[in-house]
Amino acid sequence: MKIGVVTFPGSLDDHDSQRAIRLAGGKAVSLWHADADLHGVDAVVLPGGFSYGDYLRAGAIARFAPVMDKLVPAAQGGLPVLGICNGFQVLCESHLLPGALIRNDHRKFICTDQRLRVENDSTAWTGDFESGQEILIALKNGEGGYVADEATLDALEGEGRVAFRYLGANPNGSYRDIAGITNERGNVVGLMPHPEHCVESGFGPSTDGLAFFTSVLHSLVDA
């Protein structure tokens, strides 16, 4: 199974994501932002970092990268896509996921080990978890505050589309402690914390992140 990882100018965690994919048993394929081709991959990860310097708004310019012209319709057609941190911001700017990410309410960049609760274990990227499970993964962001209007938040909650919620102190002011969400179909998932940094013992607080990548491989085998 081939999982593409898009590198935008300013992406930082693309190689960590590729490594996580390999450790999970997949084949990582490097995708370039200016490439108008997905090279036949079975799933895509939009990694963390600061695409195009995050100038204008985080993820706003990346949304219009040539590779996104192919990725957006593919995601709408069911291709599994995981957006991590900056990738989550790109997914929101692309309208593949609702809402937006704004600057942390405390105005500081935050880097910490974050506890999360898995709220939805039926997405392409969360099948190897169980709903209600607590996990611990790295979190690092400056613009991680998830916001949306009340109607959107109510819809997300009502449809079970809040995929992850922060446990303990809310690290960035995200509405309703939302750390990650999914689209209606469950193939597109975005989250602020970084599972790709938590896939090997000895590096990071846990290996809880590996299940994101094994989940999508299992979902592709079952599909």
Partner: protein, 85 residues
């Protein structure tokens, strides 16, 4: 050469951490009369020749697609720079 000025502000209901930081600093500098600050963005787009209706229409479209995110921001105004006239 003409210019189009586009002003974008965070929607009123969205927390503005940058504005809050400025609001916190003002009284420390002795400006005690201001109860709130909202910080926005101004874009100035240059064109060869005058700002026509077509140019303005393009600028509005750019404002609605790239320059603002309608989820969190309002395009407050799109207008030709008056000092060009």
């Amino acid at each position: 050469m003409g210019h189009v000025v586009i002003d974008v502000m965070l929607k009123p209901e969205i927390l503005d951490p940058q504005g809050q930081a400025v609001a916190g600093a003002l009284p420390r500098l002795g400006f005690g009369d201001f109860t709130d600050v909202r910080q926005g963005k101004r874009f100035v787009l240059a064109v060869d020749g005058p700002v026509t209706d077509t140019v303005l229409a393009q600028a509005r479209e750019a404002a609605d697609t790239l320059l603002s995110n309608p989820v969190i921001e309002d395009v407050v105004s799109v207008h030709a720079l008056e000092s060009d006239a």
